[in-house]
Symmetry: C2
Subunit: 158 residues, 2 copies
């Protein structure tokens, strides 16, 4: 206990780490967003495209996609509607479960992905990955993975 009321305040070291994480996560997202802007995509769009590109048949069930991208069903539904209007994906019915829907990459979506991915990777490298040594990357991963694990288990619902 650090103080009379029992609160364990953060030490300077802890505070500095916390702020560093906070700042990096916000600044980085802004930067990546800016770098995608010339292609008419948002980070969110891009992440959907990645997930679909990496899936069999370029399609995923809406709920799986929501889980994978850490979004609520509602948000994903709106998001897919927008991307559908932009011609990047389309919805397709699921035969085996007639409540279900697939989000499916269109040709235009796939073409867009192929065109944009190299730029996005370059951006991730320039503003994050390439600023860290191999050891740092490894350490970072080993520190953060349990945290993600913890957060996913502790009331993981978005």
């Amino acid at each position: 206990m650090d103080t009379e009321n029992g609160t364990r305040w953060l030490s300077d070291e802890e505070q500095a780490t916390w702020r560093a994480h906070l700042d990096v996560s916000r600044l980085l997202m802004h930067q990546l967003e800016r770098d995608l802007q010339p292609f008419g995509l948002t980070n969110n769009d891009y992440e959907i495209l990645v997930n679909l590109s990496e899936s069999d048949d370029h399609r995923m069930r809406m709920s799986d996609l929501a889980t994978a991208t850490l979004q609520s069903k509602s948000r994903l539904s709106h998001q897919i509607t927008r991307m559908e209007n932009a011609g990047l994906v389309r919805r397709e019915n699921c035969e085996s479960d007639r409540r279900g829907l697939f989000a499916v990459l269109t040709d235009h979506g796939w073409e867009t992905m192929r065109k944009v991915a190299p730029h996005h990777v370059a951006s991730v490298r320039e503003h994050f990955i390439d600023l860290l040594s191999t050891d740092e990357l490894k350490a970072l991963q080993e520190s953060l993975r349990p945290v993600a694990q913890h957060l996913r288990s502790t009331r993981g619902r978005i």
Copy 2:
């Protein structure tokens, strides 16, 4: 160069680190947001309160506050209007520069801060700080600080 078209794709290790960072940053924000909800505050509200609490006279110029919280002027202006309506802050004119405004913590804002801060710190500890060893914290900070530095310098405007 990893592939014919010259793109340096991410290795498995790099990709894993990148995803870990992404996941932690999103899940963590969601969790903190949830933990503040019972007090009727958002992460954004809280960060404004912290900044004002730590400032002389519990006041800051709008632009300084915008810079400190990494928000656009417009967004901050809306944010402060909401917090003003909630009685947490008020705007006050600046004598020395008559274009300028201060955001000032009200008594209610200060009281709120005193009441909420211990819970917020506990939340940050539970979901982040206390999941990392002292060495990990130090390493994390040393890895991330240069990244934040880089991002701030490279077209830092929000």
